[in-house]
């Protein structure tokens, strides 16, 4: 598995750490209640197929990335800087 970092170019999976579903970018309001926070922290769609997740380029530029990846084939479709995704409100 190789991930094409927008800053560093294509790099081996060893350079990156998986940080879970990209829903972490949509942190709920502190007062949103137990149910919403439970969904955010614990419950997952856990799809078999394309999914968006956070990867951290710790042995490279240390950027946080949003990777669109297929959990069945391990194919990486798209890599964006998490900052860009967050700022675009996507």
């Amino acid at each position: 598995m190789r991930i094409d970092c927008p800053l560093c170019g294509p790099r081996d999976r060893r350079e990156f750490t998986y940080q879970g579903d990209a829903l972490a970018l949509d942190r709920p309001d502190p007062e949103a209640g137990f149910g919403v926070w439970n969904d955010y922290l614990h419950n997952r769609d856990n799809p078999a197929g394309p999914t968006r997740e956070l990867w951290y380029h710790d042995s490279g530029c240390t950027a946080w990335l949003v990777v669109t990846r297929d959990t069945v084939t391990h194919e990486v479709h798209r890599v964006e800087l998490a900052r860009d995704v967050k700022e675009a409100g996507k």
Binding site: D12, Y18, G20, F34, N43, R44, D45, N46, T71, V72
Partner: protein
């Protein structure tokens, strides 16, 4: 048909013509009292104990592929009761007791071999953690012996004792731990359930769960609609997809765990050895292959195969611990889909939908749980109440924060176990 030494002798002398299939291949009936989704170890043992302990025989197991084609046939077969936290301790202790009587109970040779497990430790801190765990095991009524370096050396002379990075200071020895033949466990439970009238329906994928007014009424399958007032979701790595059919999201992320086996060798590894610091564990199968593995790949996956970095990491750790295995040829590697829960402990519970039950979160350790999981899931489905050794396996513990069971002490968050 009952298996016995006499039967084997007789068949051997008469051309082995008297063996019959171990279970029927029935067509699904339109309605059952209960259906279990998933014909892995846990689904089959649930069916067996529903029939045996609770007299529920008008039930079916629905399996999308063939029986035992999932993780139950892909694991490294380690069976142990060396947990440290209330909740897990009593559950796995009960499971090991069931293992010890399983072959007689099922009249099936599951090749349960209590060869002993040694968890190595390498520092004062890990020694203290091992001592604490050993005390928890003894308090639970199970067996644990703290070995010093010489004690380990007597049992495992082939390890590298001169290694500087993680010097071997001793080990936690659990003599009743060991291995079993994974396929045989699935087959034994399947045969036992079938003999009691349970329909085992293969090539039957559940594609929908029918719910009316908050109550489950049946399932949609690739072989038609099947009605049932009680439905158990027992699909391990596929829990997310099946729960979604009932509109649920679970605290589960599916990850890949790899394992490896070498060519057959003469007996050389007599126990199960775990090297936690290096993320490596090993045993030798009865065919002679060294069976070993390590950690999950640490990314979400349904591929049933992993990537090279983890393979490399596991093999490096193995060769560091016991250089002799560097000479063995690797025969195969494979992967399975693990249902990872946030605290690394399982869930056996009701859901908010009446009649719908969930059994999941086995992470990389659900093989040893097969007997107790089925026992407790059957109890829950039959009586509506959790079994006394599974009272802590609640689905809502993540929402409330009450009763989390984080054996590793790394936090009850995804991707930490």
């Amino acid at each position: 048909m009952r298996f016995s030494a006499l039967k084997i002798l007789k068949e051997g002398l008469t051309g082995n013509r008297g063996w019959a299939p171990h279970w029927r291949d029935p067509a699904p009936k339109p309605e059952y009292d209960a259906v279990i989704i998933g014909g892995g170890g846990h689904g089959l043992s649930t069916a067996y104990y529903l029939a045996k302990n609770h007299g529920m025989t008008n039930i079916a197991v629905l399996e999308k592929g063939y029986l035992g084609g999932g993780n139950v046939g892909r694991n490294t077969t380690i069976v142990r009761a060396n947990y440290g936290l209330p909740g897990n301790s009593e559950f796995y202790s009960h499971s090991l007791e069931l293992w010890e009587g399983l072959e007689q109970d099922l009249n099936y040779n599951v090749m349960h071999s209590q060869r002993g497990i040694i968890n190595l430790f390498h520092s004062d801190g890990s020694r203290d953690a091992a001592a604490r765990r050993a005390n928890a095991m003894v308090n639970q009524g199970d067996d644990a012996i703290l070995l010093d370096r010489d004690g380990v050396r007597k049992l495992l002379p082939y390890l590298n004792y001169d290694q500087e990075r993680f010097p071997i200071r001793g080990g936690l020895y659990h003599p009743r731990g060991g291995t079993a033949r994974h396929d045989a466990v699935a087959w034994g439970y399947a045969r036992g359930a079938d003999q009691r009238g349970v329909d085992l329906i293969q090539n039957c994928e559940v594609t929908g769960i029918d719910i009316e007014a908050g109550k489950v009424v049946g399932v949609q399958t690739s072989r038609g609609v099947i009605k049932a007032r009680k439905v158990g979701m027992v699909v391990a790595g596929r829990s997310g997809q099946v729960a979604a059919m009932a509109g649920m999201r679970l605290p589960i992320e599916s990850h890949v765990l790899q394992a490896f086996v070498t060519e057959g060798l003469k007996p050389c590894v007599d126990h199960v050895v775990t090297f936690g610091m290096g993320h490596f564990y090993i045993s030798q199968s009865d065919k002679g292959g060294l069976v070993f593995g390590g950690d999950i790949d640490f990314y979400a996956s349904y591929a049933q195969r992993g990537n090279l970095p983890t393979a490399e990491h596991v093999i490096e750790a193995g060769v560091t611990l016991m250089p002799m295995i560097g000479k063995a040829k690797l025969l195969r590697s494979w992967g399975g889909i693990m249902d990872m829960s946030p605290d690394g402990s399982p869930i056996i519970d009701r859901t908010d939908i009446d009649g719908l039950f969930v059994n999941t979160g086995w992470c990389y350790g659900g093989f040893k749980a097969v007997p107790a999981s089925g026992w407790c899931m059957a109890h829950l489905m039959a009586t509506g109440q959790p079994h006394e050794v599974a009272t802590r396996y609640r689905l809502d513990r993540f929402e409330t924060g009450r009763g989390l069971m984080d054996e590793e002490g790394t936090g009850a968050q995804h991707n930490l176990h």
